[in-house]
Amino acid sequence: MKYTNIYKVFFGLLLVFIPWSITEAIYETPYPAQEIVSESVGFYQTNTCRYSVAEIFQVNKVNPGIEILPDLSSKIECFGKINGVDKAGEIIKVYVGTNPNIDFILQSSFWLLMLSFVPKSKKYSQKYPTSFSIFIMTSLLFLHLSSEDKFYLSFSEGFDVSLSFNNYLLLSLLIVIPMVLTVFSDLIETRFYNLINFFPFIFLFSGTYNSLNLNFFLIIIAFIGIIAMQEGFYSKVFTLTYFVFSIIHLVNFETSNTYFDVDKLKGFINSSQNKSSLLFWIIIIYFFINGLLYVFKESKKNIDLQIIKMNLLISAGVIVVIGIASSVYNYFNYLSYYYLGLNKLGMKSFDSIEGNTWRGISPSAEAAGEYFAIVILFWIVINKLQLHKITKPEIILVIINLYGLYRSNNFAATVSLVIITVVFFLNNSNLKRQLKTSIYIVGVIALTAVFNYNNDYSYNFASKTLLHQGISASIISESLPGNEYGLNAAENSNFGQILLLQDSDIKLSSSLKYSLREFNENGNIKFLPDKVATWSVISVPINRSEKWGIFLAKYNPSVREALFGYGPQQLSNYYLGHPTKYNDGLVLPHSSLLDFIIFYGLVGVAVLLLFLTVISIKYKKKSIFAYPFFFILINFIKSDSILYLSSFVLAVLVFNLYDYKTIETDSSTYD
């Protein structure tokens, strides 16, 4: 190991252990730390901010009865100390003091250190100094802190963003941006062209700050996006389209004094509903996408598929291993949450939960399953294209990945992986065209038969399920009259009657009302199935009728909002704008397509689909792009992955692989 790497590892260990080991040096603690059991809960409740994590670790090395959680409301001086203990059933919750100012510095430092392990490439030279970009990013941070103050006030009573030379709380937060970005600029000077080869580690180091609604990668990639603009890199079509959408979003935005609990979407979603916070997300998302495109464009000549393949396998393998370790050891669970920047704490049990899923350290089992599956897909495609011999470490890592995929219980990802892999091998085989066509026909018939065998719902039932679920999620008056069996119009799925009801009887969202009218009143076009019925029929076998029904019940846009959306990362209007039975807890739409409709409306979706259709037709023979592209497209329809930064980055990079020139040995065609 090089000397510099030894220093880095040493510094990393200091960053991991020192903050949780600072003890009260000023005076003798009258009582030593005690074992955390039911009897000592009162002791720790009165002795807050006194014992460090290291101190309680010494007397609680193995204590499965405790759960370690961050206490976001702590003062700086209580950072890393036990700031509260509560008994919750059989488990004792131990709250460790954390603080936004320290989190911002400590977590950023750790992730910068991790970035420094990216091997050096040729030097990247900028024409312009970075000071302007740093100034813009610092201003954006101020805009974020002032516009999303409700997020910070929810755990920090004294949070104050008034601009004053005495407001050190604000100043100490703002100064972190110049610090981080100055170091980052120096680091990427010699690593810029290699960043793309190491992007898979964004799934391991999620980069979400513990007590800020920000993500480290959002900041640094947006920073690159600003540099790119200075260098003259931006897509005119994308910029113009985005600008038009942004103006519409800002002009028509309805401000509300609501606070959206970001929960596991922390760092990549707007927590407030005001114009300033919307402006922040509009600007940062634009720079973020521009930064991603710039990194791809500038470094596509340096893309090494073998390195990417191994990094995908390693990062996914480490995710599984850390997921297992953090589910069995509570200290590791907390430290992995903090230093990997997880959106939420990893699972504390090795047992599967609802739906037989196990998410490990990922925010959602669905997103984790998709990642494990696409890693395997990339491994297969790259190995086949580059005629690479499979090595032993690869086999071990693939087995670990398969285990992760199995535990995530993502049926859609597994099935789509199998189908796409089969299609890939068929397309790359030397079989005759007629034989290939026959295999496809038999395959489609077999799949349809299996599908029908496993779904014994009638078309009539399946076509109405979505609307029925939507109505069930809506708020219905208790005084609604019933029929002779005591069932009211909603329970009876009598759509015609529901449409005639008053707003006081049932609170229907505009989207549900529209869907009901479409289904009930507009006659079917001959030979074409009804669009609402088709959507409903699709939703049943993929287990999305309930979630998409709830989406219909909640989604209440005006015509303009339906066409252009609420704005990037703006979920609060959708989530809290219309009362339903699901206004508490984070019930997401469970479809990235629906998420995109919320953000950019039907026009936005049309523009995106047009772009994706064009590139998919034009570059369908480019295997490295086509197979992962279709995999993502299929899976994103039924998952919320686009709401997670790492999955968003993966999607943008895969969609841009059409522009990647590789020496492919295949001659794949889509017959």
């Binding site: 510099t4 005076y27 003798e28 009258p30 001086e77 100043l171």
Partner: protein, 104 residues
């Protein structure tokens, strides 16, 4: 306040504390079994207390056990960060100018 007293001084009889409240001539007796504690007030004064009752009496009067409460920690974080930034900038600039080395 009760929690604060127990937190700083440990367990003891709070009833005793009420008794001395009205006695200006009360003399605190050192308790050899009580480890001496250092308390601070908001003017920055420091006092050593040698018994539980003495400790409880002072904590009840607004004294606390850490000078932390007097420190604006954010101010220190801010100035430490500024210092780091200046030193880092100067070091890297100097390094680049003299040796042409990049940052590791």
């Amino acid at each position: 306040m009760e929690n604060e007293i127990i937190g700083i001084c440990g367990n003891g009889s709070l009833a005793e504390l009420e008794l001395i409240g009205n006695d200006p001539n009360f003399v605190f007796v050192n308790d050899v079994n009580f480890p001496t504690l250092v308390l601070f007030n908001d003017q920055g004064s420091v006092i050593n207390v040698n018994s539980w009752i003495e400790c409880a009496n002072y904590v009840n009067g607004g004294w606390f056990d850490g000078i932390y409460d007097l420190i604006n920690a954010e101010k220190y974080v801010f100035f430490a960060s500024i210092t780091f930034l200046i030193v880092y900038k100067m070091t890297t600039r100097f390094k680049k100018k003299t040796t042409g080395h990049e940052i590791h």
